[in-house]
Amino acid sequence: MSESYSFEDYIAWDRLPHMWCAGCGHGITLKGIAMALADLQIPPHKALIASGIGCSGRAGDYVTFNRFQGTHGRTLAFATGINAACPDLKIIAFLGDGDCYAIGINHLIHAARRNLNVAVIIGNNRNYGMTGGQFSPTTPQNTITSTSRYGKPEPEIDMCSVVAEAGASFVARTTVYHTVELFSFIKKAINTQGLSFVEVLSPCPTYFGRYNNLGNAVDMFRTLKEKTLPLKDYEKLPHEEKEKFFWHGIKVQRERVDFITEYNNYAKRLQANKGGEMS
């Protein structure tokens, strides 16, 4: 290999400062993506960051490599076409919980079912940051947001379980506090054939933190340290204790052919059949 890349080659330094608030977790995840790409020595023209709408959606403004930013929630549907046209492009979909779990949940479930070859990295800050801190599907019940001033009346959703059930090759969860794990999960996600899903708990001190008196960014990071448990420890907890903690770790890791490979194999079988009808 003639060129060699460091994480700095993937960041558009001239575009900084970024628009994210001080203490926001998204920058850490973006650096994790850049470090993973450098570690895997993926040339910038063979990498694509695909984002949606919201704070995390701006990630593409701060990178040197290929960028796609779609409409709200639709990123994985766009990625389906990109993946077919460019099967050797490493697609990293960096999406928010509002974008991917509310308006985009349909596309996420179907992308996981098809096992689209995409690394889905979710910046789960448990609310809609960009629009002023409204509740999202991952906002815990009874917590305060700008649209749940008396406590959110709805329960939250565990998308790791949904995506695992739908058929993704790799499902994991971590936080922006666990940076070494974050970096290794992103790397695994990029290297996985099929859909890999990494949910990253990420503080939004500006809205979710402020509304719920969770302290400043440092306090919120401390919470990520203290209130999370490795998956195997978490599973041993009695039921009533589980509510107080988040698990982090790998939930699913399996070998499953990705959607485009599957489709291309099908087309090849058809062509070998001289274009006739398949029985």
């Binding site: 409409t71 549907a77 389906t80 993946n83 077919a84 460019c86 087309a267």
Partner: protein, 375 residues
């Protein structure tokens, strides 16, 4: 060329394949389903893709994604699906992504009468997605034109780097006619490739002298940045008022400045008509028949069968109608195109000849209406 006997929907599919389409994503809907079925059979045979998506939002999104990867891509739908596609149609316009959307119009609004034709998506094609924008929309009036204009739609999408809508309808979609089609490989297609400029100097949204950018397919050494936000030439988002204004202006003028390159109306009947009939799509068939009959009956009537609906061919219509006193607009809706004709022909008497009851308009009722006015 060879001759075949096919229905309108199949002709669109055949046209797409002849134009080098390699990607179709869609969702089942009446009366466009035959197009999806055709693509599911034919696309894999030509090394292309047929993806059946979870809805129409995803269908057009996948089409846009595939196009950004360099594949000629399209989808087909009808009213309710077209409504869902408006969101990402706007994306394709702003991000300047070539793609083709075939709207096999049915009777609406809402689910309407799913199995019956309509021509009431004219204004939706023009203004369905939010924000200022310009769109190219073509209207075939025969099965042959379903084939020809689909090919044309793909070429225009690349030429202008923009989505192109083909407005078919439920009657045309299921009409069977003998048409001429290209033999395999007879039509030469140059797929979109990386630009010649060095990758380091490439700016994805720097327009050429005609105002059109060259989007290098993803995966080439030329880095491509695409966003739904107003963006600079590098493809980074910006809220700069000058950039925003210039971008909107260019999205319009890159098309309206070159209207002569779009399919021109077909004109029939008297050379210096006192009265003109303007129509498009399936109604133009009935109108043409009516004009032919009236000419034989010594009425000095001419007719324009519009091939390009949007941008509206104002100058051509104004020129053609310069000697006329009365203009009849024949369409299967409650007067959507009539309003446009009135707007561009102030002082002329514009008479709508409409039918909006799920049935195809007949030559007889057009003749009766015209005679009633001209006598």
């Amino acid at each position: 060329m060879r001759q075949i006997f096919v229905q309108g929907n199949e002709a669109c599919g055949l046209g797409a394949i002849a134009a080098g389409a390699k990607f179709f994503a869609g969702y089942p809907i009446t009366p466009a389903s035959e197009l999806a079925e055709f693509c599911s059979k034919e696309m894999p045979k030509v090394g292309g893709y047929y993806f059946q998506m979870e809805d129409e939002l995803a269908s057009i999104a996948a089409v846009i994604g595939a196009s950004l990867g360099g594949l000629r891509s399209f989808t087909a739908t009808s009213g309710p699906g077209m409504s869902l596609m408006q969101e990402n149609l706007g994306f394709a316009i702003l991000a300047e992504v070539p793609c083709v959307i075939i709207n096999v119009q049915r009777f609406g609004p809402s689910t309407g009468v799913a199995t019956r034709p309509g021509q009431a998506d004219i204004m939706q094609a023009r203004w369905g997605t939010h924000g200022d924008h310009t769109i190219i929309a073509l209207a075939p009036a025969s099965v042959q034109e379903c084939y020809d204009l689909t090919i044309e739609a793909f070429n225009l999408a690349e030429r202008f780097s923009t989505p192109v809508i083909l407005l078919s309808d439920g009657a045309l979609a299921h009409l069977r006619e003998k048409i001429s089609v290209y033999d395999d490989g007879e039509l030469e297609i140059t797929p979109r490739s990386a630009p010649e400029i060095e990758p380091e100097k490439y700016l994805p949204y720097r327009p050429n002298e005609k105002g059109v950018p060259h989007l290098s397919p993803y995966g080439n050494r030329h880095i491509l940045r695409v966003t739904s936000l107003i963006h600079d030439e590098k493809g980074y988002s910006t809220a700069n008022p000058t950039t925003a204004r210039c971008q909107l202006e260019r999205l319009e003028t890159k098309i309206t400045g070159y209207q002569e390159e779009l399919p021109q109306a077909k004109c029939y009947g008297s050379k210096n008509p006192d009265a003109v009939v303007i129509s498009f799509g399936i109604s133009a068939r009935a109108a043409r028949q009516a004009v032919h009959f009236l000419n034989n009956d010594n009425f000095e009537i001419g007719m324009m069968d519009l091939k390009t609906i949007w941008p509206f061919p104002e100058k051509n219509i104004q020129e053609y109608c310069s000697q006329a006193e009365k203009v009849f607009v024949v369409e299967m809706n409650r007067g959507q195109l009539t309003g446009e004709v009135e707007r561009i022909l102030p002082g002329l008497e514009v008479i709508p000849v409409l039918r909006a009851d799920t049935q195809v308009i007949s030559p007889q009722e057009i003749i009766e209406k015209i005679k009633e006015v001209l006598r």
